[in-house]
Symmetry: C2
Subunit: 209 residues, 2 copies
DNA sequence: CAATTTATGTAACTATTGTTACTGTATACC
DNA sequence: GGTATACAGTAACAATAGTTACATAAATTG
């Protein structure tokens, strides 16, 4: 049954033999919403292929402060896992499921042999790095060049996109954590967005208009 | 003569046959200080191996504003080039030589075949991604979690390290560009660092104490 | 060596963001 | 239903960073 799930998302990416290998070796994992998949500082021993759901990737600083880097969606894998697997180093980031999520865990030993054997695997790994690299640049753009109101708007739109829903169910405090700001600031800016007619604020939810 | 330069930096990384291939196919390129190697928006058709010198990698936003991401040193390659080569997309960054620099340019066609043929090449490419990824995280840490005075201090130390000299020859305006700040702010903070006895400011130069 | 350009110092002000403190209000729990 | 808790609104203030404006001094140019 792994192969069915797999083929739905990855059949147009991977060769048939590779799909078979993955379904034999991979371990299906299902996690609920808000499940912590990787903590900063942890060792990583297998790499995930996302079947469905959304995973939030966050950066932690030394004082435990956080910043959202990007979201992973179906068809994505985690670049941090790749680098950790190779370097045998600890994770530098934190991964939390944003929605209930299904993924296939692949033991890292396979990585190198598949890189030789399958062109599609090479492309997948390199493309993953490329995509993550671009999202990091995007994250840098946001914090370096944009003011908090612009960052907030971008955040709301992006988050609505990945969960495919115009209504976000979350508190102002949660947003403040993701943007590394404070609840009061976020409330203030949200209220301003509401006055501009761009959103509608309710308790525990924000609707994008 | 390419092979001599190459062996000095890369003999402990690459197999002998790969070194030979590189020296046959690669094109030696020497650029002076402050030479623009890649502009944002440009197409990239070959990937560089740094033999010596230092290259500054900057991010541009739409309004032409800049932000220093990291420095490349000998033994490094440019991850952006890798992603551009694969994706046939335009460069998202700008690369400027910080010192006179010598590099070997490798046409991208070789990339995929070498990935199959040489384990050392696979490791090199993946390690490059890993290293650049870490430096991006570091850049994000700086702008997200540190105040301008801390960023400035880190910048001065880092820059002194890569050029291996405690005296930096540059103007306050140049620093302001790299940190995406303004000259007045940098002058103010530098003066404060001088008062703390951490640096000595002269015209066109800053000495780290 | 006078004139111009470039680099730096500094003050006064503005804008943005963060902090503290207190309020009201919905929801959950007993 | 009453109490506690979590969420959101708002005001007043502080800290940081950016802007404008001008002064001074070193270097460069003719």
């Amino acid at each position: 049954m792994i192969i069915d799930e797999l083929e739905k998302q990855y059949s147009y990416i991977f060769e048939k033999e590779l799909l078979l290998e993955i379904s034999k070796i991979g371990v299906l994992k299902e996690v609920p919403e808000a499940f912590e998949l990787i903590r900063a500082g942890q060792f990583v021993k297998s790499m995930p292929l996302l079947l469905n759901g959304v995973i939030k990737i966050l950066r932690n600083d030394n004082d435990g402060e956080e910043l959202l880097l990007y979201f992973l969606e179906k068809g994505d894998t985690c670049a941090m896992t790749l680098t950790c697997c190779l370097g045998e180093t600890r994770s530098e980031i934190k991964a939390i499921s944003e929605t209930p999520t299904k993924l296939i865990m692949i033991p890292i030993e396979k990585m190198d042999s598949w890189l030789i054997k399958y062109k599609s695997w090479r492309n997948f790994v390199l493309n993953s790095y490329q995509n993550r690299f671009m999202e990091m640049l995007d994250a840098i753009d946001s914090i370096a060049f944009n003011k908090m109101d612009e960052r907030l708007e971008k955040y709301l739109k992006n988050r609505a996109k990945v969960i495919d829903n115009n209504i976000l169910f979350c508190t102002h405090q949660e947003i403040a954590f993701d943007l590394h700001s404070s609840r009061v600031v976020i409330s203030r800016l949200l209220k301003s967005l509401e006055n501009q007619g761009k959103i509608k604020i309710s308790r525990n939810s924000i609707e994008l208009l």
